[in-house]
Amino acid sequence: MTFDNSFTRREFLKGAGALGAVSMTMWLGGCEACQEQIAHRPTRRNIANLAANDPIITAYQNAVTAMKALPSTDPRNWTKQAQIHFDHCPHGNWWFLPWHRAYLSYFERICRKLAGYNDFALPYWNWTTSPSIPAVFWGNGNPLFDNTRGVGPSDQADPAWVGTTVIQNILSTGNFNIFASSPSSAPRGGTGGGYGELEATPHNNIHSWIGGDMGAFMSPLDPVFWCHHNVLDCLWVEWNINRGNPNTNDQNWYDLHMTEFVDENGQPVDVTVAATVLMPLFSYQFEPCGPAQEAPKKWQRAQLEAFLKSGAPVRLDVTQRMELKRAVTTEVGKPLASMAQLPADSLKTVLESQGKTAALLTINGAQVPQKTDFYVRVFTDKADASADTPISDPHYAGSFGFFQDAKAMPGMEVMGSEAKQLGFVVDLTPTLKRLSDAGGMQGPAVNITLVLVPYEKRQAAGQTLTIEKLEFAIANVK
């Protein structure tokens, strides 16, 4: 999955009407491909709940072994991964949490691939309930063992910094900067900054208490590092999503691009803080880690919208808009075709901008009927697109649905049954570029087809979707 915030929440609100929760998936590069991943996203489990021979532990051991065996020229090599931390990790400022979230996410993907275990999810070490380093990290010959540690298997972390009371108090602040560390002008060496409670208390002390590799910036050499940071990520989820505390809405925080990570194939990635705030909704989930094991906050749709608006990335300047359709109704089995006649230079700009200019389809005021047994696929320059056209077709641009399956997003409850108006955005840029590169673009005109696709084993015949306005937009991405 590619994390790409090429369109943003303000654009949804400005250009596409009310926000639908599913629209967020569009940030991630196409709803449909993500739906399955979201619904079945892996669960990061408490390592205390895993037996020593659990497949997750075995996969972690195998992944570490494989990474250590990679040549030092491979960026997935164990030491090279630690070097990323040494060279780039922000500490004592507000990028501490999102940077480590992204770091862990890509590490997890590397582990998954190298271990050959697709269900792998990085387990976490909950030092509040298990204050000793877990048994799976000990034993000579065990790839999860690090012989530089300054503590032993029976030593326990001090409740003053990992105990239930102090963690509960840390989770009880509503102030992002106190929880997650303070604003700084740069990830390293900037002005400002300051340790928040989560970083200063359990994070720093666990590192220093374990010592050895863990006590320095090459700490990822110790496999326990990843599970230590994983519970910090879990506590951020607990604070932010389960307890409903908003992250900062400062654009300087969201805009940070992190280009130091590599994916499971060793390819460099460019991920923003804006993308990291959504990772727990789309890429993974946690077994509960909060000290009170509290039930997650139940979100109403309106609440979720307001909450995400308060902390959403917002940097998209629409430079051109073209209305394609107004007050149009389409039906299952009857694709809706439209055409955007672009100035020749507009398309050229999009295709040559290297991601700095995007071509977007905005669907404004989609009147969602109470019964929606379908979702919508979007194709470009595919006049004969139908529900049978696969998403592997090069003309496929994305899709959107209406997200009324609460199981797909635990903690979010869709309330009310009256018809709602939603807005969606589909980024057409990658598809246009792909078609252009393959010589498949017919000219400056772009044909767009919306296809209502019934969900498997659902009766959707006759169901309709009414759209207030369909627009094609060119936007500068910042």
Partner: protein, 162 residues
């Protein structure tokens, strides 16, 4: 309830001998200090300091700032500075201390830094005793068996930010 009190014993540093409420008090007696934005040095011999708190500032949600300004650590001891509340200056029972957080140091034990704390969650746990609450900062080695008798950690006295 005894409010934290102060006494001038040196220029710019307000210190009184802590009046322990129990004859079985720890020999490591904490000191009571004012909110004057000066500094306090914690050592093995003097590992704790107690500060009065402005309850009105806590109530209005002000943020507590503490800064680690100097570390003299020739033995390279690993340490932290725990931050806690006590219901009053006379309470020495450690079970009545409410942990707020700590000033952990990573990766370098000579690291300096600014630390922010929200006292409100801990204050709520003191319930009716909150008005007389005092702040305790406590130097603590992470590995007590290692030498730390030459460790000197200097922290600014509590400051507030709205």
């Amino acid at each position: 309830m005894t409010r934290c009190s102060v006494q001038l014993v040196a220029p710019l540093i307000f210190v009184v001998v802590f009046v322990c409420g129990s004859p079985s008090a720890s020999p490591l007696k904490p000191r009571v200090q004012s909110e004057t934005p000066s500094q306090t040095t914690l050592t093995q011999q003097s590992p704790e300091a107690v500060f009065p708190l402005d309850y009105a500032r806590i109530k209005r949600g002000d943020v507590l700032l503490l800064q680690l300004v100097a570390v003299d650590n020739p033995q390279h001891a690993t340490f932290t500075v725990n931050v806690m509340l006590v219901p009053s200056a006379t309470v020495i029972d450690s079970s009545q201390r409410v942990p707020v957080g700590s000033m952990g140091v990573y990766p370098d034990q000579e690291n300096h830094g600014l630390y922010t704390f929200d006292l409100a969650p801990a204050i709520r746990q003191l319930k009716g005793q909150a008005r007389d609450a005092c702040l305790v900062i406590q130097l603590k080695p992470l590995h007590p068996s290692s030498g730390w008798n030459r460790l000197r950690v200097t922290v600014t006295n509590p400051q507030w930010k709205q």
